[in-house]
Protein backbone atom coordinates (compact mmCIF):
# COMPACT_ATOMS: atom_id res chain seq x y z
CA UNK A 1 0.00 0.00 0.00
CA UNK A 2 2.90 2.30 0.52
CA UNK A 3 3.34 1.62 -3.16
CA UNK A 4 0.30 3.65 -3.53
CA UNK A 5 1.07 6.64 -1.46
CA UNK A 6 4.47 6.51 -2.98
CA UNK A 7 6.91 8.78 -1.37
CA UNK A 8 6.84 10.88 -4.51
CA UNK A 9 3.21 11.77 -3.99
CA UNK A 10 3.41 12.47 -0.30
CA UNK A 11 6.60 14.41 -0.88
CA UNK A 12 5.19 16.57 -3.66
CA UNK A 13 2.03 17.09 -1.65
CA UNK A 14 3.94 18.30 1.37
CA UNK A 15 6.77 20.05 -0.49
CA UNK A 16 5.48 21.24 -3.84
CA UNK A 17 8.03 22.61 -6.30
CA UNK A 18 5.71 24.55 -8.59
CA UNK A 19 3.32 26.25 -6.25
CA UNK A 20 2.80 29.92 -6.91
CA UNK A 21 1.23 32.42 -9.27
CA UNK A 22 2.33 34.53 -12.22
CA UNK A 23 1.29 38.09 -12.67
CA UNK A 24 0.85 38.82 -15.49
CA UNK A 25 0.26 35.40 -16.98
CA UNK A 26 -0.44 34.55 -20.62
CA UNK A 27 -2.89 31.84 -19.71
CA UNK A 28 -4.78 31.40 -16.45
CA UNK A 29 -7.51 28.93 -15.63
CA UNK A 30 -9.08 27.34 -12.60
CA UNK A 31 -11.64 24.74 -11.72
CA UNK A 32 -12.70 22.57 -8.86
CA UNK A 33 -13.99 19.10 -8.25
CA UNK A 34 -17.14 19.78 -6.30
CA UNK A 35 -17.26 16.19 -5.10
CA UNK A 36 -14.38 16.73 -2.72
CA UNK A 37 -13.58 20.43 -2.95
CA UNK A 38 -10.28 19.92 -4.79
CA UNK A 39 -9.37 23.22 -6.40
CA UNK A 40 -6.63 24.00 -8.92
CA UNK A 41 -5.58 27.36 -10.40
CA UNK A 42 -2.93 27.42 -13.10
CA UNK A 43 -0.84 30.31 -14.51
CA UNK A 44 1.28 29.92 -17.65
CA UNK A 45 3.81 32.08 -19.49
CA UNK A 46 3.99 31.10 -23.13
CA UNK A 47 6.54 32.52 -25.60
CA UNK A 48 5.90 33.59 -29.18
CA UNK A 49 6.61 30.11 -30.50
CA UNK A 50 3.93 28.70 -28.22
CA UNK A 51 6.38 27.12 -25.82
CA UNK A 52 5.54 27.14 -22.13
CA UNK A 53 8.27 29.01 -20.27
CA UNK A 54 6.74 29.13 -16.82
CA UNK A 55 3.96 27.13 -15.17
CA UNK A 56 2.77 27.46 -11.60
CA UNK A 57 -0.29 26.30 -9.70
CA UNK A 58 -2.21 27.16 -6.58
CA UNK A 59 -4.65 24.79 -5.06
CA UNK A 60 -6.05 22.82 -2.21
CA UNK A 61 -7.30 19.32 -1.92
CA UNK A 62 -6.12 15.78 -1.54
CA UNK A 63 -2.57 14.53 -1.98
CA UNK A 64 -3.31 13.07 -5.39
CA UNK A 65 -4.76 16.25 -6.85
CA UNK A 66 -2.01 18.49 -5.47
CA UNK A 67 0.91 16.20 -6.25
CA UNK A 68 -0.49 15.60 -9.69
CA UNK A 69 -0.68 19.35 -10.33
CA UNK A 70 2.86 19.86 -9.10
CA UNK A 71 4.25 17.06 -11.28
CA UNK A 72 2.25 18.29 -14.27
CA UNK A 73 3.66 21.81 -13.97
CA UNK A 74 7.12 20.32 -14.00
CA UNK A 75 6.30 18.20 -17.01
CA UNK A 76 4.94 21.03 -19.18
CA UNK A 77 7.83 23.39 -18.64
CA UNK A 78 9.36 23.77 -22.07
CA UNK A 79 6.51 21.99 -23.81
CA UNK A 80 4.70 23.41 -26.82
CA UNK A 81 1.01 24.12 -26.20
CA UNK A 82 0.13 21.75 -29.05
CA UNK A 83 1.84 18.99 -27.13
CA UNK A 84 -0.15 19.92 -24.06
CA UNK A 85 -3.34 19.48 -26.04
CA UNK A 86 -2.33 15.91 -26.75
CA UNK A 87 -1.66 14.98 -23.11
CA UNK A 88 -3.98 12.23 -21.95
CA UNK A 89 -5.17 10.41 -18.89
CA UNK A 90 -2.48 7.85 -19.60
CA UNK A 91 0.30 10.44 -19.38
CA UNK A 92 -0.89 11.48 -15.94
CA UNK A 93 -1.10 7.91 -14.71
CA UNK A 94 2.43 7.22 -15.93
CA UNK A 95 3.63 10.42 -14.35
CA UNK A 96 2.15 9.36 -11.00
CA UNK A 97 3.17 5.74 -11.39
CA UNK A 98 0.02 4.37 -9.75
CA UNK A 99 -3.34 2.85 -10.58
CA UNK A 100 -6.45 4.73 -9.58
CA UNK A 101 -10.16 4.03 -9.20
CA UNK A 102 -12.70 6.31 -10.88
CA UNK A 103 -13.09 8.76 -7.99
CA UNK A 104 -9.37 9.24 -7.46
CA UNK A 105 -8.88 9.51 -11.20
CA UNK A 106 -10.92 12.69 -11.07
CA UNK A 107 -8.57 14.03 -8.43
CA UNK A 108 -5.53 13.09 -10.51
CA UNK A 109 -6.92 14.58 -13.72
CA UNK A 110 -8.19 17.86 -12.36
CA UNK A 111 -4.97 19.72 -13.09
CA UNK A 112 -4.80 18.37 -16.65
CA UNK A 113 -8.41 19.36 -17.21
CA UNK A 114 -7.69 22.88 -16.01
CA UNK A 115 -4.50 23.07 -18.08
CA UNK A 116 -6.18 21.93 -21.28
CA UNK A 117 -9.20 24.16 -20.83
CA UNK A 118 -6.76 27.07 -20.41
CA UNK A 119 -4.66 26.16 -23.43
CA UNK A 120 -7.72 25.63 -25.62
CA UNK A 121 -9.13 28.92 -24.35
CA UNK A 122 -12.43 27.35 -23.32
CA UNK A 123 -15.03 28.96 -21.13
CA UNK A 124 -15.54 25.86 -19.04
CA UNK A 125 -13.53 22.75 -18.23
CA UNK A 126 -15.40 19.54 -19.04
CA UNK A 127 -14.59 15.93 -18.34
CA UNK A 128 -14.48 15.24 -22.06
CA UNK A 129 -11.09 17.00 -22.14
CA UNK A 130 -9.44 14.19 -20.23
CA UNK A 131 -11.55 11.20 -21.15
CA UNK A 132 -10.48 8.77 -23.79
Amino acid sequence: MDDFYRELIIDRYKNPQYRGSLNPADISFEDENPLCGDHIHIDLRVDDEGVIREALFEGRGCAISQASADLLMEKVHGMHVDQVKRLSKQDILEMLGIELGPVRLKCALLSLKVLKAGVYGLGEATDDLVEE
Binding site: M1, Y5, C36, G37, C62, A63, R104
Partner: protein
Amino acid sequence: MAEAMAELHPKVALDVYKIREDFPVLGRQVRPGVPLVYLDSTATSQKPASVIEAMNAYYRQHNANIHRGIHVLAEEATAMYEEAREKVKNFIGAASSRQIIFTRNTTEAINLVAYSWGLSQLRRGDLILLTEMEHHSNLVPWYLLAERMDLRVEHVAVTAEGVLDENDFDRKLAMGPRLFAFTHMSNVVGTINPAKTMIAKAHQAGAVTLLDGAQSVPHFRVDVQELDVDFLAFSGHKMCGPTGIGVLYGKRELLENMPPFLGGGDMIKKVTLGAFKPNELPYKFEAGTPAIAEAVGLGAAIDYLNKIGMDVICQHEQGLVRYALERLREVEGLRIFGPSAEKKGGVVSFLVDGVHAHDISQILDQYGIAIRAGHHCAMPLHEKFQVPATARASFYLYTTFEEIDRLVEAIYRVKDIFGV
Protein backbone atom coordinates in the same frame (compact mmCIF):
# COMPACT_ATOMS: atom_id res chain seq x y z
CA MET B 1 -10.97 -5.62 23.61
CA ALA B 2 -13.87 -8.00 24.07
CA GLU B 3 -13.96 -7.42 27.84
CA ALA B 4 -13.81 -3.70 27.52
CA MET B 5 -16.68 -3.98 25.15
CA ALA B 6 -18.82 -6.06 27.42
CA GLU B 7 -18.16 -3.61 30.19
CA LEU B 8 -19.02 -0.63 28.08
CA HIS B 9 -22.17 -2.15 26.66
CA PRO B 10 -23.68 -4.60 29.08
CA LYS B 11 -27.08 -4.61 27.41
CA VAL B 12 -25.97 -5.74 23.96
CA ALA B 13 -28.12 -8.77 23.22
CA LEU B 14 -27.36 -9.25 19.58
CA ASP B 15 -25.07 -12.04 18.43
CA VAL B 16 -23.18 -10.14 15.79
CA TYR B 17 -21.01 -13.06 14.75
CA LYS B 18 -24.04 -15.17 14.06
CA ILE B 19 -25.67 -12.31 12.18
CA ARG B 20 -22.58 -11.86 10.02
CA GLU B 21 -23.02 -15.37 8.70
CA ASP B 22 -26.29 -14.25 7.16
CA PHE B 23 -24.48 -11.73 4.95
CA PRO B 24 -22.52 -13.39 2.14
CA VAL B 25 -20.46 -10.32 1.26
CA LEU B 26 -19.05 -10.05 4.78
CA GLY B 27 -17.02 -13.19 4.15
CA ARG B 28 -15.22 -11.49 1.33
CA GLN B 29 -11.56 -10.61 1.09
CA VAL B 30 -11.15 -7.42 -0.89
CA ARG B 31 -7.61 -8.44 -1.76
CA PRO B 32 -5.87 -11.71 -1.01
CA GLY B 33 -5.54 -11.88 2.76
CA VAL B 34 -7.41 -8.62 3.33
CA PRO B 35 -10.91 -9.21 4.70
CA LEU B 36 -13.61 -6.65 4.09
CA VAL B 37 -14.39 -4.24 6.93
CA TYR B 38 -17.57 -2.64 5.71
CA LEU B 39 -18.17 0.68 7.46
CA ASP B 40 -20.32 2.27 4.76
CA SER B 41 -23.86 1.17 5.64
CA THR B 42 -25.15 4.72 5.61
CA ALA B 43 -24.50 4.77 1.85
CA THR B 44 -26.08 1.37 1.42
CA SER B 45 -26.49 -1.66 3.63
CA GLN B 46 -25.39 -5.17 2.83
CA LYS B 47 -28.05 -7.82 2.17
CA PRO B 48 -28.68 -11.04 4.07
CA ALA B 49 -28.97 -14.26 2.08
CA SER B 50 -32.67 -14.46 2.91
CA VAL B 51 -33.33 -11.26 0.94
CA ILE B 52 -31.30 -12.43 -2.04
CA GLU B 53 -33.05 -15.80 -1.89
CA ALA B 54 -36.52 -14.27 -1.72
CA MET B 55 -35.87 -12.47 -5.01
CA ASN B 56 -34.37 -15.60 -6.54
CA ALA B 57 -37.44 -17.59 -5.59
CA TYR B 58 -39.63 -14.91 -7.13
CA TYR B 59 -37.74 -15.05 -10.44
CA ARG B 60 -37.26 -18.80 -10.49
CA GLN B 61 -40.82 -19.77 -9.64
CA HIS B 62 -43.36 -16.98 -9.75
CA ASN B 63 -42.30 -14.14 -12.01
CA ALA B 64 -45.21 -12.47 -13.83
CA ASN B 65 -46.62 -9.02 -14.30
CA ILE B 66 -49.10 -8.14 -11.59
CA HIS B 67 -52.62 -6.86 -10.96
CA ARG B 68 -54.36 -7.82 -14.20
CA GLY B 69 -53.46 -11.45 -14.80
CA ILE B 70 -55.78 -14.40 -14.40
CA HIS B 71 -53.17 -17.11 -14.29
CA VAL B 72 -51.38 -18.77 -11.43
CA LEU B 73 -48.10 -16.91 -11.84
CA ALA B 74 -49.77 -13.52 -12.10
CA GLU B 75 -51.85 -14.23 -9.04
CA GLU B 76 -48.85 -15.40 -7.06
CA ALA B 77 -46.74 -12.43 -8.11
CA THR B 78 -49.56 -10.02 -7.23
CA ALA B 79 -50.01 -11.64 -3.84
CA MET B 80 -46.26 -11.47 -3.15
CA TYR B 81 -46.09 -7.81 -4.15
CA GLU B 82 -49.09 -6.86 -2.03
CA GLU B 83 -47.86 -8.90 0.89
CA ALA B 84 -44.67 -6.83 0.82
CA ARG B 85 -46.77 -3.70 1.00
CA GLU B 86 -48.54 -5.12 4.02
CA LYS B 87 -45.20 -5.81 5.69
CA VAL B 88 -44.08 -2.23 5.11
CA LYS B 89 -47.36 -0.97 6.49
CA ASN B 90 -46.89 -2.95 9.70
CA PHE B 91 -43.21 -2.06 9.96
CA ILE B 92 -43.93 1.67 10.15
CA GLY B 93 -47.27 1.37 11.92
CA ALA B 94 -49.41 2.79 9.13
CA ALA B 95 -53.18 2.51 9.38
CA SER B 96 -53.68 1.09 5.90
CA SER B 97 -51.56 -0.46 3.19
CA ARG B 98 -53.22 1.95 0.76
CA GLN B 99 -50.93 4.58 2.27
CA ILE B 100 -47.80 2.70 1.22
CA ILE B 101 -46.56 3.76 -2.20
CA PHE B 102 -43.61 1.98 -3.73
CA THR B 103 -41.03 4.26 -5.37
CA ARG B 104 -37.43 3.69 -6.52
CA ASN B 105 -35.87 5.25 -3.45
CA THR B 106 -36.18 8.03 -0.89
CA THR B 107 -35.31 10.55 -3.55
CA GLU B 108 -38.19 9.61 -5.83
CA ALA B 109 -40.57 9.53 -2.87
CA ILE B 110 -39.69 13.12 -1.97
CA ASN B 111 -39.93 14.23 -5.59
CA LEU B 112 -43.36 12.63 -5.81
CA VAL B 113 -44.54 14.84 -2.97
CA ALA B 114 -42.88 17.89 -4.51
CA TYR B 115 -44.48 17.35 -7.91
CA SER B 116 -47.88 16.09 -6.84
CA TRP B 117 -48.62 17.77 -3.53
CA GLY B 118 -46.33 20.73 -4.11
CA LEU B 119 -47.45 21.72 -7.58
CA SER B 120 -51.12 21.36 -6.70
CA GLN B 121 -51.20 22.80 -3.17
CA LEU B 122 -48.59 25.53 -3.05
CA ARG B 123 -48.92 29.06 -4.33
CA ARG B 124 -46.42 31.66 -5.40
CA GLY B 125 -44.61 33.14 -2.42
CA ASP B 126 -45.39 30.22 -0.12
CA LEU B 127 -42.63 29.22 2.25
CA ILE B 128 -40.95 25.84 2.42
CA LEU B 129 -38.90 25.13 5.51
CA LEU B 130 -35.96 22.73 5.33
CA THR B 131 -32.86 22.37 7.49
CA GLU B 132 -29.15 22.85 6.93
CA MET B 133 -28.50 19.19 7.66
CA GLU B 134 -30.55 17.77 4.80
CA HIS B 135 -29.33 15.32 2.21
CA HIS B 136 -29.47 16.76 -1.32
CA SER B 137 -32.50 14.54 -1.89
CA ASN B 138 -34.46 16.65 0.54
CA LEU B 139 -33.12 19.94 -0.82
CA VAL B 140 -32.97 19.84 -4.60
CA PRO B 141 -36.59 18.70 -5.20
CA TRP B 142 -37.72 21.73 -3.24
CA TYR B 143 -35.28 24.08 -4.96
CA LEU B 144 -36.59 22.86 -8.33
CA LEU B 145 -40.14 23.43 -7.15
CA ALA B 146 -39.31 26.84 -5.68
CA GLU B 147 -37.80 27.92 -8.96
CA ARG B 148 -40.79 26.70 -10.94
CA MET B 149 -43.40 28.20 -8.61
CA ASP B 150 -41.58 31.15 -7.18
CA LEU B 151 -41.63 29.89 -3.61
CA ARG B 152 -39.48 30.99 -0.70
CA VAL B 153 -37.17 28.51 1.00
CA GLU B 154 -35.71 28.75 4.49
CA HIS B 155 -33.42 26.40 6.38
CA VAL B 156 -33.33 25.71 10.10
CA ALA B 157 -29.75 26.40 11.20
CA VAL B 158 -27.41 23.72 12.46
CA THR B 159 -25.26 24.52 15.48
CA ALA B 160 -21.51 23.99 15.62
CA GLU B 161 -22.26 20.79 17.55
CA GLY B 162 -24.23 19.50 14.58
CA VAL B 163 -27.75 19.64 15.97
CA LEU B 164 -30.69 21.75 14.86
CA ASP B 165 -30.90 25.16 16.49
CA GLU B 166 -34.18 25.14 18.41
CA ASN B 167 -34.55 28.88 18.56
CA ASP B 168 -33.97 29.19 14.88
CA PHE B 169 -36.57 26.48 14.31
CA ASP B 170 -39.14 28.42 16.34
CA ARG B 171 -38.25 31.63 14.56
CA LYS B 172 -38.67 30.05 11.16
CA LEU B 173 -41.87 28.26 12.06
CA ALA B 174 -43.23 31.67 13.01
CA MET B 175 -42.74 32.71 9.39
CA GLY B 176 -45.62 30.35 8.55
CA PRO B 177 -44.15 27.68 6.28
CA ARG B 178 -46.61 25.58 4.29
CA LEU B 179 -44.27 22.61 4.46
CA PHE B 180 -41.58 21.51 6.86
CA ALA B 181 -39.41 18.77 5.36
CA PHE B 182 -36.56 17.43 7.49
CA THR B 183 -34.40 14.46 8.11
CA HIS B 184 -35.01 12.08 10.98
CA MET B 185 -31.32 11.30 11.22
CA SER B 186 -28.39 13.07 9.60
CA ASN B 187 -26.41 10.88 7.22
CA VAL B 188 -23.27 12.92 7.97
CA VAL B 189 -23.14 13.55 11.69
CA GLY B 190 -25.71 10.97 12.77
CA THR B 191 -27.83 13.44 14.75
CA ILE B 192 -31.27 12.06 15.51
CA ASN B 193 -33.78 14.88 15.44
CA PRO B 194 -36.65 14.90 17.97
CA ALA B 195 -39.13 14.28 15.18
CA LYS B 196 -42.28 13.90 17.25
CA THR B 197 -41.93 17.24 19.00
CA MET B 198 -40.84 18.99 15.83
CA ILE B 199 -43.78 17.62 13.87
CA ALA B 200 -46.20 18.71 16.57
CA LYS B 201 -44.72 22.20 16.52
CA ALA B 202 -44.83 22.35 12.75
CA HIS B 203 -48.46 21.27 12.77
CA GLN B 204 -49.26 23.97 15.28
CA ALA B 205 -47.67 26.45 12.93
CA GLY B 206 -49.91 25.11 10.16
CA ALA B 207 -47.27 23.28 8.17
CA VAL B 208 -47.53 19.93 6.46
CA THR B 209 -44.59 17.73 7.49
CA LEU B 210 -42.35 15.42 5.49
CA LEU B 211 -39.85 13.24 7.27
CA ASP B 212 -36.81 11.90 5.44
CA GLY B 213 -36.52 8.49 7.04
CA ALA B 214 -33.69 7.18 4.84
CA GLN B 215 -31.44 6.86 7.89
CA SER B 216 -34.00 6.31 10.63
CA VAL B 217 -36.29 3.57 9.36
CA PRO B 218 -33.38 1.15 8.85
CA HIS B 219 -31.91 1.77 12.29
CA PHE B 220 -34.67 2.21 14.87
CA ARG B 221 -38.40 1.81 15.27
CA VAL B 222 -40.33 4.51 13.41
CA ASP B 223 -44.09 4.66 13.91
CA VAL B 224 -45.88 7.06 11.60
CA GLN B 225 -49.02 7.27 13.72
CA GLU B 226 -47.08 7.92 16.89
CA LEU B 227 -45.08 10.61 15.10
CA ASP B 228 -48.25 11.94 13.45
CA VAL B 229 -46.13 12.70 10.40
CA ASP B 230 -47.82 13.61 7.11
CA PHE B 231 -45.28 12.06 4.75
CA LEU B 232 -42.42 9.64 5.35
CA ALA B 233 -39.85 8.63 2.71
CA PHE B 234 -37.25 5.87 2.90
CA SER B 235 -35.18 3.46 0.79
CA GLY B 236 -35.05 -0.33 0.73
CA HIS B 237 -31.34 -0.56 -0.02
CA LYS B 238 -30.34 1.05 3.27
CA MET B 239 -32.33 -1.44 5.36
CA CYS B 240 -31.01 -4.80 4.14
CA GLY B 241 -33.28 -4.67 1.09
CA PRO B 242 -32.46 -4.48 -2.61
CA THR B 243 -31.71 -1.45 -4.75
CA GLY B 244 -34.52 -0.10 -6.90
CA ILE B 245 -37.21 0.15 -4.22
CA GLY B 246 -38.25 2.87 -1.82
CA VAL B 247 -41.38 3.91 0.00
CA LEU B 248 -43.55 6.94 0.38
CA TYR B 249 -46.03 6.87 3.23
CA GLY B 250 -48.66 9.58 3.38
CA LYS B 251 -51.73 10.43 5.39
CA ARG B 252 -54.77 9.13 3.60
CA GLU B 253 -56.52 12.44 3.13
CA LEU B 254 -53.45 14.12 1.69
CA LEU B 255 -52.81 11.27 -0.73
CA GLU B 256 -56.45 11.11 -1.78
CA ASN B 257 -56.43 14.76 -2.72
CA MET B 258 -53.17 14.71 -4.60
CA PRO B 259 -53.20 14.53 -8.40
CA PRO B 260 -51.26 11.73 -10.11
CA PHE B 261 -47.52 12.16 -10.60
CA LEU B 262 -46.36 9.72 -13.28
CA GLY B 263 -48.94 8.69 -15.87
CA GLY B 264 -49.23 5.24 -17.42
CA GLY B 265 -50.42 1.70 -16.92
CA ASP B 266 -51.88 0.66 -13.54
CA MET B 267 -52.36 4.18 -12.23
CA ILE B 268 -55.60 4.63 -14.16
CA LYS B 269 -59.09 3.30 -13.78
CA LYS B 270 -60.10 4.16 -17.28
CA VAL B 271 -58.60 5.82 -20.35
CA THR B 272 -60.46 7.21 -23.30
CA LEU B 273 -58.91 9.19 -26.14
CA GLY B 274 -57.67 12.37 -24.55
CA ALA B 275 -58.82 11.68 -21.00
CA PHE B 276 -58.37 9.34 -18.06
CA LYS B 277 -59.66 8.61 -14.59
CA PRO B 278 -57.02 7.90 -11.94
CA ASN B 279 -57.03 4.67 -9.99
CA GLU B 280 -57.51 4.28 -6.24
CA LEU B 281 -54.65 4.49 -3.73
CA PRO B 282 -51.92 3.35 -3.75
CA TYR B 283 -52.06 2.47 -7.47
CA LYS B 284 -52.73 6.08 -8.46
CA PHE B 285 -49.06 6.73 -7.74
CA GLU B 286 -47.56 3.53 -9.14
CA ALA B 287 -47.38 3.99 -12.90
CA GLY B 288 -46.12 1.17 -15.10
CA THR B 289 -44.71 -2.17 -14.11
CA PRO B 290 -43.38 -1.70 -10.60
CA ALA B 291 -40.22 -3.09 -9.05
CA ILE B 292 -41.93 -6.38 -8.19
CA ALA B 293 -38.97 -8.54 -7.25
CA GLU B 294 -37.56 -5.60 -5.30
CA ALA B 295 -40.75 -5.20 -3.28
CA VAL B 296 -40.56 -8.91 -2.47
CA GLY B 297 -36.93 -8.39 -1.42
CA LEU B 298 -37.88 -5.46 0.79
CA GLY B 299 -40.55 -7.59 2.41
CA ALA B 300 -37.91 -10.22 3.18
CA ALA B 301 -35.62 -7.51 4.59
CA ILE B 302 -38.37 -6.39 6.95
CA ASP B 303 -38.91 -9.98 8.05
CA TYR B 304 -35.19 -10.22 8.72
CA LEU B 305 -35.02 -6.98 10.70
CA ASN B 306 -38.11 -7.94 12.69
CA LYS B 307 -36.60 -11.30 13.51
CA ILE B 308 -33.53 -9.61 15.01
CA GLY B 309 -35.62 -6.84 16.52
CA MET B 310 -35.30 -3.15 15.79
CA ASP B 311 -34.70 -2.31 19.43
CA VAL B 312 -31.85 -4.78 19.65
CA ILE B 313 -30.34 -3.40 16.45
CA CYS B 314 -30.61 0.14 17.75
CA GLN B 315 -28.99 -0.83 21.03
CA HIS B 316 -26.13 -2.56 19.24
CA GLU B 317 -25.47 0.52 17.15
CA GLN B 318 -25.62 2.75 20.19
CA GLY B 319 -22.92 0.62 21.74
CA LEU B 320 -20.83 0.81 18.59
CA VAL B 321 -21.04 4.55 18.25
CA ARG B 322 -20.21 5.14 21.90
CA TYR B 323 -17.19 2.90 21.53
CA ALA B 324 -16.12 4.48 18.25
CA LEU B 325 -16.29 7.99 19.63
CA GLU B 326 -14.29 6.95 22.64
CA ARG B 327 -11.58 5.32 20.55
CA LEU B 328 -11.42 8.08 17.99
CA ARG B 329 -11.13 10.75 20.65
CA GLU B 330 -7.81 9.16 21.61
CA VAL B 331 -6.35 9.98 18.20
CA GLU B 332 -4.43 13.22 18.25
CA GLY B 333 -5.26 15.65 15.48
CA LEU B 334 -8.49 13.88 14.70
CA ARG B 335 -11.57 16.07 14.54
CA ILE B 336 -15.00 14.53 15.01
CA PHE B 337 -18.08 16.23 13.57
CA GLY B 338 -21.44 16.00 15.24
CA PRO B 339 -22.88 15.58 18.70
CA SER B 340 -22.15 13.10 21.47
CA ALA B 341 -23.31 9.51 21.35
CA GLU B 342 -26.66 9.86 23.09
CA LYS B 343 -27.92 12.27 20.43
CA LYS B 344 -26.97 10.19 17.44
CA GLY B 345 -27.07 6.96 15.48
CA GLY B 346 -24.26 4.79 14.15
CA VAL B 347 -22.44 7.33 12.02
CA VAL B 348 -19.15 9.07 12.74
CA SER B 349 -17.67 11.73 10.46
CA PHE B 350 -14.15 12.92 11.08
CA LEU B 351 -11.02 14.44 9.62
CA VAL B 352 -7.34 14.08 10.39
CA ASP B 353 -5.40 17.37 10.45
CA GLY B 354 -3.33 17.76 7.32
CA VAL B 355 -4.92 14.89 5.45
CA HIS B 356 -7.76 15.17 2.95
CA ALA B 357 -10.75 12.84 3.48
CA HIS B 358 -10.07 11.19 0.11
CA ASP B 359 -6.59 10.24 1.18
CA ILE B 360 -7.87 8.80 4.45
CA SER B 361 -10.39 6.68 2.60
CA GLN B 362 -7.85 5.53 0.04
CA ILE B 363 -5.37 4.40 2.64
CA LEU B 364 -8.06 2.72 4.74
CA ASP B 365 -9.15 0.85 1.65
CA GLN B 366 -5.69 -0.70 1.48
CA TYR B 367 -6.56 -2.33 4.82
CA GLY B 368 -9.91 -3.52 3.48
CA ILE B 369 -11.78 -0.82 5.38
CA ALA B 370 -14.64 0.67 3.39
CA ILE B 371 -15.66 4.13 4.54
CA ARG B 372 -16.99 7.13 2.57
CA ALA B 373 -15.11 10.32 1.87
CA GLY B 374 -16.72 13.39 0.41
CA HIS B 375 -19.67 15.62 1.05
CA HIS B 376 -22.07 12.65 1.47
CA CYS B 377 -24.66 14.49 -0.59
CA ALA B 378 -24.89 17.16 2.08
CA MET B 379 -22.84 20.03 0.71
CA PRO B 380 -24.60 22.77 2.66
CA LEU B 381 -23.78 21.05 5.95
CA HIS B 382 -20.14 20.77 4.91
CA GLU B 383 -20.17 24.42 3.97
CA LYS B 384 -21.44 25.12 7.45
CA PHE B 385 -18.55 23.15 8.91
CA GLN B 386 -16.25 24.92 6.45
CA VAL B 387 -14.73 21.70 5.15
CA PRO B 388 -15.14 20.45 1.60
CA ALA B 389 -15.28 16.81 2.60
CA THR B 390 -15.27 14.50 5.60
CA ALA B 391 -14.45 10.87 6.16
CA ARG B 392 -17.42 8.87 7.41
CA ALA B 393 -17.57 5.48 9.11
CA SER B 394 -21.03 4.04 9.62
CA PHE B 395 -22.38 0.96 11.34
CA TYR B 396 -25.20 -1.51 11.17
CA LEU B 397 -26.38 -4.68 12.86
CA TYR B 398 -23.46 -6.67 11.41
CA THR B 399 -20.71 -4.26 12.54
CA THR B 400 -18.35 -5.51 15.25
CA PHE B 401 -16.38 -3.70 17.88
CA GLU B 402 -13.23 -5.27 16.43
CA GLU B 403 -13.95 -3.51 13.16
CA ILE B 404 -13.84 -0.20 14.97
CA ASP B 405 -10.48 -1.21 16.42
CA ARG B 406 -9.24 -1.92 12.93
CA LEU B 407 -10.49 1.47 11.80
CA VAL B 408 -8.58 3.21 14.54
CA GLU B 409 -5.39 1.25 13.85
CA ALA B 410 -5.57 2.16 10.16
CA ILE B 411 -6.08 5.81 11.00
CA TYR B 412 -2.79 5.67 12.87
CA ARG B 413 -1.19 4.34 9.67
CA VAL B 414 -2.64 7.31 7.77
CA LYS B 415 -0.98 9.61 10.24
CA ASP B 416 2.33 7.78 9.83
CA ILE B 417 2.23 7.98 6.07
CA PHE B 418 1.44 11.66 6.06
CA GLY B 419 3.79 12.34 8.93
CA VAL B 420 1.09 14.11 10.95
